[in-house]
């Protein structure tokens, strides 16, 4: 199993540009999450999904959008990139069982200039 994969690994965007961060998992997990990690700030939840067709906002959703058309994929869309969105983005998935261990992807480092 590949686990959770994310592409791209790195990206530099200009202010106002758009992009989609891709995330896929092959563990048949119902739950998927997008986090951002800023230096010294821990992991902040952007959006999450409890299953295909269902998404919900997390703590910091502004400026982002998601979709969940399949169990495997959970892309994160940035429509108008701003310098405040410079961060490392992690996608994660979990089965939603009693222990809810999350499996994380390797991250995407995004810089907006």
């Amino acid at each position: 199993n590949a686990g959770v994969t994310q592409t791209p690994k790195f990206r530099i965007l200009k202010i106002g540009q758009s992009m989609t961060l891709q995330c896929a998992q092959d563990m048949n997990h119902n739950y998927m999450y997008w986090y951002r990690q800023d230096p010294g700030m821990g992991l902040k939840l952007i959006y999450y999904s409890v299953g295909a067709g269902i998404t919900d906002k997390g703590e910091v959703p502004n400026g982002y959008n998601v979709s969940r058309s399949t169990t495997e994929d959970f892309p994160l869309r940035l429509e108008l990139a701003a310098p405040s969105q410079t961060s490392v983005y992690f996608c994660a998935s979990s089965s939603g069982d009693s222990y809810n261990e999350q499996f994380f992807g390797p991250g995407t480092r995004l810089t907006v200039l």
């Binding site: 992991l43 902040k44 409890v50």
Partner: protein
């Protein structure tokens, strides 16, 4: 307002000694706690967890202690090894929400 706090940004320990990482929480609805380990340029990986019905959970060199009355948990690593050098995140969940709240992390450095 931080509901999960890791007040020590960093910790330095000698190889072979015990590492103790602390985590405090404010939300009494949290009933499940997890620790994750993160190496640079990688995603976090799950380390160990504990539910609120227990006060201790052990897995090899790693033990998590939970003090519900103090709203405090700690991760003990014994003996510490250089490969344990990483950032450790504490996370808490409530009532089957499956939405964890993370602390800011503690960077552990284990010196040979």
């Amino acid at each position: 307002d931080q509901q999960v706090k890791q007040n020590s940004p960093s910790l330095s320990v000698q190889e072979g000694r015990i590492s103790i990482l602390n985590c405090d929480y404010t939300n009494s609805m949290f009933d499940y706690f997890l620790w994750y380990k993160k190496y640079p340029a990688e995603g976090p990986t799950f380390l160990i967890s504990i539910s609120s019905i227990k006060d201790k959970n052990e897995d090899g060199r790693f033990t998590v202690f939970l003090n519900k009355s103090a709203k405090h948990l700690s991760l003990h690593i014994v003996p510490s090894q250089p490969g344990d050098s990483a950032v450790y995140f504490c996370a808490a969940e409530s009532g089957g929400s499956y939405i964890p709240t993370f602390g800011r992390g503690t960077s552990l450095i284990v010196h040979p």
